[in-house]
């Protein structure tokens, strides 16, 4: 439920006026007009491990497969607010929990957690059990346990202790329950009850949010103390803790977690990157492990140790090497074991993390490199630009070997993408970037030719040329979208959700501040942690519409001895709303249609914007209507039929209608918007209604 509320009177609202000069970025940030929702977030695998290590000690081994995290909107952190726990996942969590409990309560360790000894050494002692439960439970559940929670667990401990004849076996069972409790596995972020205005996260919820944001682990005892004392409600209390946490070396864990998430490094950790052993004998899991660590080390070194500018990550020659990596980079490494600092030569082919083995190997196929995958990575992850998915109705018959007779290099093989207009729009966004990196093969090793043909790494990125991979890094570091994308991605990571419209002023001002401050990590962490957008919420998220076959209860009679079948979901709403019937066409103004539909969905950066003018059609700005009404389409098949792009009062002869509903002849081209979601039936009806009513202004 979204509660719209007026602009907060927190400080002066200064919406994005800061320029680029000195002093830029030091003004107050714009507040969100509307905050985003909160949702419970499942601990990621790394967070689970870190939390267990912090609470139960470092030396415990986790035997089992923690349920995979889910990537949503490009981040596991966002997916964490959508996942649940599947049956197999719960099975594993419980099994891991039993093993952890056994290890933690083993004789040599138990003194760390059990602050007492059972009376008479017997198998049952309610008081001692209660002390243990409160102590460990309080840390695991990140809050004090209620009396009811303690009592039920004391009962379990007693039952188990008596049955098995061992006090600590009882505690093991209790510890298991804590480790599978939803309060442990999920971070529940409460808002203060009461006012319908800006809902502030509770002190306790702030502790959890700050802790997993800045240290990627459970709140430490000092933070928990501050939480329970209510200190995290006001700015000063939060700032005190934030500054304390930023001083700690533990922020490195957060930086590693963020970039690891953003760059999909979990594939490296889980051994899912594989290469053909005959084509790439140098590739082993050890190598790719070192490669991932190399990139993370460079990032930590640059952004934390050196307090550097994020953009310079793509040009820096500073790096680290191990001997394993030295084999593929073909450089000597003095240190016999472990890491040593390394600087790529100024006149070499590599500079910046885009030329690291990690990213190159991740964005390649098992048998060869992939300019398209690498280009897609740059667009989507580094520049936050959506690349539409391929159209579903490509006519591949138009391609043939004759059009690409010489297919020795990737550039030659991808000629077909460039030649065909249905493909060029999107592939033109990706392929040139990846082609700059082609001198670095499927595992990132240097090569100058492929199949005997010289590789040409020249190209351009949004109008700026480069001659090789190093040049690409320079151009990328100056790309206006690079910094803002980093800021937004980190914000989404911190809050575990996509941004909402009402946050735009805040985000824009944040981007500008960071631009002025040089995109430094600590600055960004501190700014986000202290911002309104981070500690306010508009409420909780609505349930996802999930279609289910309704079970007509009167036709299904369960057997008299058994209750209804297991597994019926317990959601309150029993019936799902049917999708609305086609709305009756409403008359709308063109301005409304343009602003609500055409500009956001069609006039995107690479399509019908005034820069790109796909198909010669601009669908934004003042002249948009004149580009449509009474204008003949450039598509020959449509023009032959005498259609206009929009024929006033005549939707049946308006090519626009055909395009947005979806043409059924290939000669008429693809459905629009190209590749993305189609317009909803309401939107289609709105446009049809406008045309029928005369296609006015």
């Amino acid at each position: 439920m979204f509660n719209r509320f007026a602009v907060l009177a927190v400080g002066v609202v200064a919406i994005g006026c800061a320029g680029d000069g000195p002093g830029a970025g030091s003004g107050p940030l714009a507040s969100p007009i509307e905050a985003g929702p909160v949702a419970m977030r499942r601990l990621t695998e790394t967070q689970y491990r870190a939390s267990v290590a912090d609470i139960l000690g470092d030396g415990l081994s986790i035997a089992g497969r923690i349920e995979p995290d889910n990537r949503r909107s490009g981040l596991l952190a966002v997916g964490s607010s959508y996942v649940s726990v599947t049956a197999a996942g719960f099975e594993q969590y419980e099994s891991i929990a039993r093993s952890l409990a056994e290890q933690a309560l083993a004789p040599e360790r138990r003194a760390d957690f059990v602050p007492c000894e059972p009376a008479d050494g017997g198998p049952v002692d309610a008081d001692c059990a209660a002390m243990f439960i409160r102590k460990v439970g309080g840390r695991l559940l990140r809050r004090p346990l209620t009396d009811a929670e303690v009592e039920s667990r004391v009962a379990i401990a007693a039952e188990a202790g008596a049955t098995l004849g061992d006090f600590y076996a009882g505690l093991e069972l209790v510890l298991t329950t804590l480790l599978v409790s939803p309060d442990f596995l999920f971070r529940i972020e409460d808002v203060e009850s009461g006012s319908s205005d800006a809902q502030r996260l509770t002190s306790r919820a702030m502790a959890t949010r700050l802790s997993y944001f800045l240290w990627n682990s459970t709140p430490d005892e000092e933070l928990q103390r501050a939480a329970e004392a209510g200190e995290l409600i006001d700015d000063e209390g939060v700032a005190t803790q934030v500054d304390r946490m930023l001083e700690s070396p533990r922020i490195e864990d957060s930086v590693r977690a963020f970039f690891g998430d953003l760059y999909s490094f979990e594939d490296i950790e889980q051994g899912l990157v594989s290469k053909d052993p005959t084509l790439f004998p140098a590739f082993t899991q050890d190598l790719i492990g070192d490669a991932g660590e190399q990139t993370l080390r460079v990032i930590v070194d640059h952004m934390l140790t050196s307090d550097g500018d994020y953009r310079d990550l793509f040009t820096t020659r500073q790096s680290f090497m191990t001997r394993k990596l030295g084999v593929v980079y073909r450089v000597p490494v003095a240190a016999t074991e472990g890491w040593e600092p390394f600087e790529f030569p100024a006149d070499g082919e590599r500079a910046g993390i885009l030329t690291h083995l990690s990213l190159l190997a991740l964005h390649s196929h098992p048998g060869r490199s992939s300019p398209t995958l690498r280009g897609k990575f740059v667009r989507e992850v580094l520049l936050c630009q959506d690349v539409p998915p391929p159209p579903g109705d490509i006519d591949f018959a138009s391609f043939s070997d004759a059009s690409t007779p010489n297919r020795r290099t990737a550039r030659q093989r991808l000629e077909a993408h460039v030649a065909n207009p249905a493909c060029a729009g999107c592939h033109g966004l990706m392929d040139p970037i990846g082609l700059a990196l082609e001198q670095l093969d499927g595992i990132g090793a240097l090569r100058t030719e492929e199949n005997g043909a010289t590789i040409d790494p020249t190209g351009e990125l949004d109008g700026v040329s480069y001659t090789d991979a190093r040049g690409l890094g320079v151009v990328l570091s100056r790309h206006p979208a690079l910094g803002p994308c980093f800021v937004r991605s980190f914000f989404r990571y911190a809050t575990g959700r996509d941004t909402v419209e009402g946050e735009e002023p805040f985000l824009v001002s944040l981007e500008q501040r960071m631009s002025g401050l040089g995109y430094r990590m600590r600055d960004l962490m501190r700014t986000i942690a202290l911002s309104d957008a981070f500690r306010l919420a508009s409420g909780t998220r609505d349930a996802e519409v999930v279609l289910e076959t309704p079970v007509p209860m009167d036709t299904f009679t369960p057997s008299p001895t058994a209750p209804p079948p297991d597994g019926t979901p317990r959601t309150a709403t029993a019936t799902r709303p049917r999708p609305p019937a086609t709305a009756t066409p409403q008359a709308a103004s063109f301005a409304q249609i343009r602003d609500e539909i055409l500009t956001p969905k069609c006039a995107t950066q690479f399509c019908h914007s005034s820069q790109t003018m796909s198909g010669g059609l601009v669908l934004e700005g003042a002249g948009a209507r004149d580009n449509l009404v009474g204008v003949a389409p450039t598509n020959p098949a449509a023009a032959e039929r005498g259609w206009s792009r929009v024929q006033a009062s005549d939707p049946d002869n308006s090519f626009l209608m055909v395009k947005i509903i979806g043409p059924n002849e290939s000669a008429l081209g693809s459905r629009m918007p190209l590749g993305g979601s189609a317009l909803s039936s309401e939107e289609v009806a709105l446009i049809e209604g406008w045309i029928t009513a005369g296609a006015g202004r």
């Binding site: 439920m1 949702a39 419970m40 995979p68 889910n70 949503r72 959508y82 996942v83 649940s84 726990v85 599947t86 049956a87 719960f90 099975e91 419980e94 009811a148 667990r153 039952e159 049955t163 098995l164 298991t176 329950t177 939803p182 529940i188 409460d190 899912l272 594989s274 053909d276 084509l279 196929h365 048998g367 060869r368 998915p389 391929p390 579903g392 006519d395 591949f396 043939s400 909780t540 998220r541 609505d542 349930a543 999930v546 279609l547 076959t549 079970v551 036709t555 057997s559 058994a562 209750p563 079948p565 297991d566 597994g567 019926t568 979901p569 317990r570 959601t571 309150a572 999708p579 993305g676």
Partner: protein, 445 residues
């Protein structure tokens, strides 16, 4: 639930006094699941449902038979099924109808098939997938609600999904599968006297305490979080069920613990996929014989089929787009070799089940397995004419060995039919152009 708890605890003291108590029939009743479907001697053999998936489709003009009915000639791409043609029905010409929605290549086709509705966004999952709908009906009597298996090494390759972000991850390692199903918690009836593990009962008690705690949480959550907490509850109950089942010995004659799988080699190479498939099929057969699960999902290769010959630069999926259609042959030889290898694996899967005796017939007789892909002609991302092959007689409920043409009907007809065969009381399924109330009657002749 409370009554059960008390009874459980009472029994617990009796059993765990230390003496090995053989669990007699009356006591067995208490440990039955809530459904009350018993597996006492003489009870009917369970019917199992499974999906078998391969990526990047086939060549429609070489795969679909030209005649309908029982006596159709096997077209070239179905010749691999020659040995089991009587056990497998071919459904051709059923299509995913997009309604103008985006076709995320190698993805939308399968999600639409399994949910009955075409997703509105590329990554969307409009509802729980077919296997989950069926497992809610029949999966609560077994230790595992369902088993998900991937033969190419990636756990997130799974089409068993509650929603977009709630995915039942696949097991990728035969050894891990063995440990999970036949590890220390499995009782082989041939091992001798069954003694329930006292710790198991204690675990169940503990889980009910977690349930109670979680119930308190519901009050403070929004609707989306409640939905997710619901799924957590369901999973918790499934574990309780699992423990409950482990308290009584498997009661199927043909059940025994299989051999430890050897020579595991996990990856996306075709030889690796084939060997993993072999090992996993073996384990699955025993998992079914021992009624450890009644629903399974076997993923031979993902929609974006990464199958590859060792030493080759390009994979199956890349070939479907890059390889030229041979003028003489009329198809892409290398890409087709991969889809044929996939169908070969399917054939060996069917053969293995058909060769496994159970009761008076075979394991396959008591199964219903839906093999399908995410597209027909992968080169053009074609989601019309999606291939389906249905194996098994579902315990005698259906006949098999025929070919039916869908004529462009939505693939939801297949999903609807599967549900009806498995006893779900549904008369229609799907939304918009995928909505249907017509099942495929040829099964029920």
């Amino acid at each position: 639930m409370m009554k059960n708890d008390i009874t459980r605890r009472t029994v617990l003291r009796g059993i765990t006094g230390g003496a090995a108590v053989s669990v007699g029939l009356p006591l067995l009743d208490i440990f039955l699941n809530d459904n009350g479907t018993a597996l006492a001697q003489g009870a009917p053999l369970p019917v199992r449902f499974g999906t078998w998936f391969w990526g990047c489709g086939m060549n429609p003009n070489r795969w679909a038979p030209s005649e309908e009915g029982d006596d159709f000639a096997l077209p070239p791409e179905l010749e691999v099924l020659a040995n089991v043609r009587g056990e497998v029905s071919i459904l051709s010409g059923f299509s995913t109808i997009l309604d103008g929605r985006p076709n995320k290549p190698h993805h939308t086709g399968v999600l639409a098939t399994l949910t009955g509705s075409t997703p509105k966004t590329g990554d969307g999952v409009p509802g729980p997938t077919l296997d989950l709908l069926i497992s809610r009906q029949i999966g609560s009597a077994t230790r595992f609600r369902s088993l998900e298996i991937s033969c190419t090494g990636v756990p997130r390759h799974s089409y068993s999904r509650e929603s977009e972000s709630v995915v039942n991850a696949s097991t990728v390692s035969p050894l891990e599968m063995y440990n999970r199903v036949f590890g220390p918690e499995f009782f082989d009836p041939n091992d001798g006297e069954f003694v329930p593990d006292p710790k198991a009962i204690l675990r169940q008690s503990a889980l009910s305490a977690v349930s109670e705690d979680a119930a308190r949480l519901e009050a403070v959550l929004g609707t989306h979080d409640k939905q997710r907490l619901d799924q957590y509850f369901t999973s918790l109950r499934q574990l309780e069920q699992q423990i409950e089942v482990s308290l009584s010995p498997p009661n199927l004659e043909a059940c025994r613990r299989p051999d430890l799988p050897r020579g595991e080699d996990i990856g996306t190479d075709l030889p690796q996929a084939l060997s993993t498939h072999d090992l996993m099929t073996e384990l699955l057969v025993f998992a079914l014989l021992c009624d450890q699960t009644r629903v399974f999902n076997m993923l031979f290769s993902a929609g974006l089929s990464g199958l590859r010959n060792p030493g080759d630069e390009v994979s199956h999926h890349e070939l479907t787009h890059d390889e030229v259609v041979d003028e003489v042959l009329g198809y892409q030889p290398q890409a087709t070799a991969f889809s044929q290898a996939s169908l070969g694996a399917w054939a060996s899967f069917v053969e293995r089940l058909a060769a496994t005796p159970e009761g008076d017939g075979t394991l396959l007789d008591n199964c219903l397995v839906m093999a399908h892909s995410e597209s027909s002609f992968a080169k053009s991302h074609d989601t019309t004419r999606i291939p389906f092959m249905i194996a098994g007689r579902a315990g005698g409920r259906v006949q098999t060995g025929f070919h039916v043409r869908g004529g462009g009907d939505p693939t939801s007809r297949v999903g609807l039919t599967m549900q009806q065969i498995m006893g779900l009381p549904v008369s229609e399924w799907g939304t918009d152009s995928m909505q249907t109330s017509r099942s495929i009657s040829e099964f029920f002749a």
